[in-house]
């Protein structure tokens, strides 16, 4: 087990470094430096600025400095566009927002989707089952950027029940639409996975044995069937987490929540590479960490897997 964890970590670290290097090289390859503007600076001034930001060093020194800054001080460097704040300020400002509704959406997707899937499997071929299957097929083609306008149209413009954007310090009514928009398609995937997995488990021999010896239904479902059911669902959580973070960019943009997604897109439009890189690396790091946790949990829960 320990050696598996170590091996898994040994893959995670080069991945993160690769991500940093790729984004750094991409940024470096960009035509025009961050200080190119319509009015060219005098060469001496430009050289001074470049020296200040360390841009006159050879590229490998720059990369090492950048990585060193991240590791030792969690410092992603200054923003090239907003002179008064660093990338860290932007992340510190926007990340809690994204994290709040991201976490809520994740919880909704897993809990509601899981419950729906289990209920559908237990009552196979009932209206509930058809409803769950219908929803999970429908939600496949309703990604967050389709859900968001529809939700705003119905609940903000037509019914006028909920605000169609803004954050307002995370007041609950500002959270509802973003969470629904972000979680729907993942909820559907979780429901579909749980349903098919539960159906498979219910047809196994050990469940039939448990039924035959007359265990109470609840005990069979919750004590025996639930754990093997959730295993395949668990392996989906890693990818779901990644695409949910990606989807949060849409939510941040569309609902103007002030999360990092909004900064990300704005910096992409302004060519503010430092902010883009900082956010990419932060999210890449999170992704890798989350995948690592899911993998280790999976190996720990499933006794059949021995690495």
């Amino acid at each position: 087990m320990l050696s598996y964890i170590l091996r898994r970590v040994a893959i995670a670290i080069p991945t993160l470094l690769l991500l940093i290097i790729i984004s750094f090289l991409l940024m470096h390859a960009a035509p025009g430096g961050p200080f190119t503007s319509e009015r060219p600076l005098p060469p001496a001034v430009l050289a001074n600025i470049e020296a200040k930001y360390g841009l006159n060093n050879p590229i490998y020194v720059q990369i090492i400095n950048y990585i060193g800054g991240i590791i030792t001080e969690f410092d992603f460097g200054p923003s090239f566009k907003y002179k008064d704040r660093s990338v860290n300020d932007i992340i510190a400002h926007g990340f809690p927002v994204t994290l709040t509704y991201g976490f809520l959406s994740f919880a909704v997707a897993v809990i509601v989707g899981g419950a729906l899937g289990i209920a559908a499997a237990l009552k196979q071929n009932s209206w509930l089952d058809y409803f769950a299957v219908g929803v999970s097929i429908g939600a496949q083609v309703l990604p967050n950027f389709v859900m968001a306008p529809i939700l705003v149209l119905v609940f903000t413009l037509w019914l006028g029940w909920l605000p169609g954007g803004g954050w307002n310090d995370g007041q609950w009514n500002h959270l509802i639409l973003p969470v629904i928009a972000l979680s729907t398609s993942y909820m559907a995937s979780v429901a579909r996975l749980t349903r098919s997995s539960m159906l498979e488990v219910l047809h196994t021999n050990f469940i039939r044995t448990a039924m035959a010896k007359g265990l109470p239904y609840k005990v069979i479902i919750f004590k025996h069937a639930l754990k093997p059911t959730l295993l395949p669902v668990m392996s989906y959580l890693g990818p779901a987490f990644v695409s949910m973070i990606t989807g949060s960019v849409i939510i941040d943009m569309y609902f103007s929540t002030g999360g990092i997604g909004q900064f990300y897109v704005n910096s992409a439009l302004n060519r503010d590479y430092a902010v883009m890189m900082g956010i990419t690396i932060l999210i890449g790091g999170l992704t890798i960490l989350f995948n690592l946790i899911v993998d280790i949990l999976y190996a720990w829960v499933d006794p059949k897997i021995r690495y």
Binding site: V141, V146, I245
Partner: protein
């Protein structure tokens, strides 16, 4: 037991003239199963209709996608609604451009990105996976670790970075999507190759001294086709989703080009002015196309995977 003499004789006659029983090939069998799946067949028809719409749609309308109808500019909400009389079948967008022509163009771009992206994924992924699986050993290990590492990178962000750095164009979009889309395909192809490479026909080819690359291209890859076809019909909607995602953020295709994602974003931005058709038409095409692809993919999987009946 009574023997039906007459029938026996008839059978013997049949054998004598060697009346062949028509065998069913794998693909004939698959086609029959596919055609029995109603959802898949309907989806195929819808998809063909969308395809025809994107190819011939511009012939139906008198307006081009860049032309501005000055007569209704400024009164889009009142005059720009879909109507047969003024030739704007789908209405106009807030700049007075004909929405029908724009949807035709957006459909072209989105479908093209989807299909080309899937094509790149299929070619690169299949070859990569087949080579890794067939070679095996250390090479396989290294090649698959590379895929592992690339897969855990949040590619959407790298893709956007790529688009920002090298300029936003359809070509860059192809390159970016192509770079990331082959990863899953290569895993699937490798898994299949591993089961194939110990089969007798491969052994026979090795024994007769066929070069490895020829074995991969002539014996392994054709046997992967079933899986590849199924997976690529599921890949096209993925590619369309990716492209629409980026275009929705305004980072994908640029004006005057457009795509479903960009048009949904425009429609979503304009819906509070009462021009709902701007949102409805692109979204409608987006949704029915994705639906069709998913159902066709499901139908193909059921049809080509006999063990899963």
């Amino acid at each position: 037991m009574m023997v039906d003499v007459q029938k026996m004789e008839q059978l013997a006659d049949n054998l004598a003239v060697q009346e062949e029983v028509q065998g069913r090939s794998l693909f004939a069998d698959a086609r029959r199963r596919f055609l029995k799946n109603k959802a898949a067949v309907v989806s195929l028809i819808i998809l063909c209709a969308v395809l025809l719409f994107s190819i011939f749609g511009h012939m139906i309308t008198a307006w081009s996608n860049e032309e501005i109808d000055w007569g209704i500019l400024g009164q889009i909400a009142e005059l720009g609604a879909p109507s047969i009389e003024n030739g704007h079948y789908f209405g106009t967008d807030q700049l007075g451009r004909d929405l029908f022509a724009r949807v035709v163009q957006g459909t072209q771009v989105s479908l093209m990105v989807g299909i080309v992206g899937a094509l790149i994924a299929v070619v690169v992924g299949t070859l990569y996976g087949a080579i890794a699986g067939y070679t095996g050993g250390k090479v396989d290990n290294v090649m698959m670790r590379i895929v592992d590492i690339l897969q855990s990178i949040p590619y959407m962000f790298v893709l956007i970075l790529l688009l920002v750095v090298f300029g936003r164009s359809i070509f860059m979009l192809f390159v970016g999507i192509g770079l990331i889309s082959w990863l899953d395909m290569s895993r699937i192809a490798r898994g299949q190759t591993l089961t194939l490479k110990n089969k007798e026909f491969v052994e026979a080819a090795v024994a007769t001294g066929v070069k490895p690359i020829t074995i991969i291209l002539r014996h392994i890859v054709p046997n992967l086709l079933g899986v590849v076809v199924v997976y690529s019909t599921l890949l096209v909607p993925q590619m369309i989703l990716t492209e629409s995602f980026i275009s929705f953020l305004g980072l994908g295709v640029q004006e005057p080009n457009t795509s479903w994602g960009a048009m949904i974003a425009e429609g979503a931005g304009a819906m509070q002015y009462g021009t709902l058709w701007q949102l409805a038409f692109p979204m409608f095409f987006f949704i029915i196309t994705l639906f069709s692809f998913f159902f066709i993919g499901d139908g193909l999987r059921d049809a080509l995977d006999p063990k899963d009946r």
